[in-house]
Symmetry: C2
Subunit: 247 residues, 2 copies
Amino acid sequence: MRTAACLVVGNEILSGKIEEKNVAVLARMLFSLGIEFRRVVTCKDEIPTIAREVNELRASHDLVFTSGGIGPTHDDITIDGVAVAFGVPLDREPRIADAIRAYYGDACTEHHLRMANLPRGADYVGETDPVFTTLRMGNVHVLPGVPWLFARKLEGLRPLLDAGEAFVNRTVFLRGDEGDYAELLERIANTHPGVDAGSYLAPAGADYDCRVTFDSASASAAQGAADAFVAETDPAKVVRRGDSGSA
Amino acid sequence: MRTAACLVVGNEILSGKIEEKNVAVLARMLFSLGIEFRRVVTCKDEIPTIAREVNELRASHDLVFTSGGIGPTHDDITIDGVAVAFGVPLDREPRIADAIRAYYGDACTEHHLRMANLPRGADYVGETDPVFTTLRMGNVHVLPGVPWLFARKLEGLRPLLDAGEAFVNRTVFLRGDEGDYAELLERIANTHPGVDAGSYLAPAGADYDCRVTFDSASASAAQGAADAFVAETDPAKVVRRGDSGSA
């Protein structure tokens, strides 16, 4: 099973100016591709810090995605950090530089052109439009922090990442306290290898009190665990069942 | 300057079932208390993983806050992970156990009572109501993942963390591309030590195009940097100015 990690770069997240939105988007895509998302690190805009985190994550996961720190200003230094991590210089990529010059016209400055810097040995993957291609260096995919751009570039990577695998989810929405189900859920988890069983309180205003979830790379295993759970649960407590992922 | 880190524990975040909401709340409180929030790690529900992450974060930061993995079910293992990190056994805390028994009455089970387990040497701090006190082991504060409970317990810790320090922010909301301001902003950043200067695109629908921000532990330093920026900017481009934090 492939594993993945994410590095979120940005003082704005750690100072509370901007709420992080991209990890959930990445998480849902990785789940749909059957890639185990194991770790997220959020760090400050510091080149040595970014380089150290990139090296730690890329050594211990099959795929790494960075979010943020891409842009024309002095605090946009993720690409510099990736170059330091790999011990390579930055080269200017003519195709991206041309796209930037075309976009900004006479207003284009050296600061704008920094976005065309590429760690030596990196390439651009995903979409064909230069604006939406993704910088990839080794197993590290460098994505911008702006949510709509992150989501669009990430979607462009899907065909590259799709190996025909997927996780599936089976969920049972319940009335009552999650502690009421703890013994049963633990037993189901222990007797259904390859299934990740979880229990979560409902958000305010929901029509249920808690939900139990069964995730697996095997649809039949997830289904079997959910069925076993429901078979031992008072039907009056089951609000409904739900599925996500392919069946 | 005190530093802080956060460990978010939960497969539900990494599988995309639940969007993480607590880091932004913690970030804003730490900013208001002048505590530098340097790092967030999100990890899976695995005791050895939690223990390793806790040990790494507590060794390199003054304060650590964990979010999630507190509850009655088998996947609620943050407290177990903290105990392993510190190499201590778990004891049952009678005062918390009594509060749990009183709350659940006849429905109380051994699974509910797991929430009264306390790593040996830990204490409860913050509020006096047992439901809202926070488990603290060394410099590690163990908070639940449910957002309203996280926020309430965190607020209960404020008096303990308040050392009379605060970061302040000065923001300038602008029309135009952030690249237009990159050279000026970099120069301001370089000539105003102790000020963290940032530049961010506006969210969709905002009445401005980008904003530049100046954060500092010194209100006069943040103000001076913002004033210097505005003095060299076309007034027609300045939509408005904004402040947060004490002046």
